[in-house]
Symmetry: C2
Subunit: 77 residues, 2 copies
């Protein structure tokens, strides 16, 4: 799963990283956003079931849906 700050929401971590990158001489960089990347295994019988569980996990724990978006990629789909 990919959990990222929603469009239009301030991303202080992204700002900090952008500032640091520019200080290091990476002047061409802009629009830095920092999110979470979560990999896990699910002992389900089908990719569809895995996706359904992954959605529930994001909604209930992994993403704060007020300020974050999430995206799910299921291997074997």
């Amino acid at each position: 799963m990919f959990v990222t700050p929603r469009e239009g929401i301030l991303d202080p971590q992204g700002r900090a990283v952008e500032h640091s990158l520019k200080s290091l001489g990476f002047e061409l960089v802009s629009g830095v956003r920092v999110g979470k990347y979560i990999v896990l295994e699910l002992a389900t019988e089908s990719p569809a079931q895995a996706r359904q569980l992954a959605e529930q996990m994001c909604e209930q724990l992994l993403a704060n849906t007020v300020i974050e978006d999430y995206r799910i990629r299921v291997e074997g789909e």
Copy 2:
């Protein structure tokens, strides 16, 4: 960029997330790894140049290569 704990390196954040997921009833989950997902724009003239800069950024700032691996995806490549 995707920055993840190296294989074999303890991932306390992943452990904590796995524990929480199981507490919530997601019993089918295992092997949780938590990493960072960094999106940014680079005003370069080519995707190849963007990749080269992204690699330097990971090595110098974004990843701690002693304990973390990184992977780069460049749009337009």
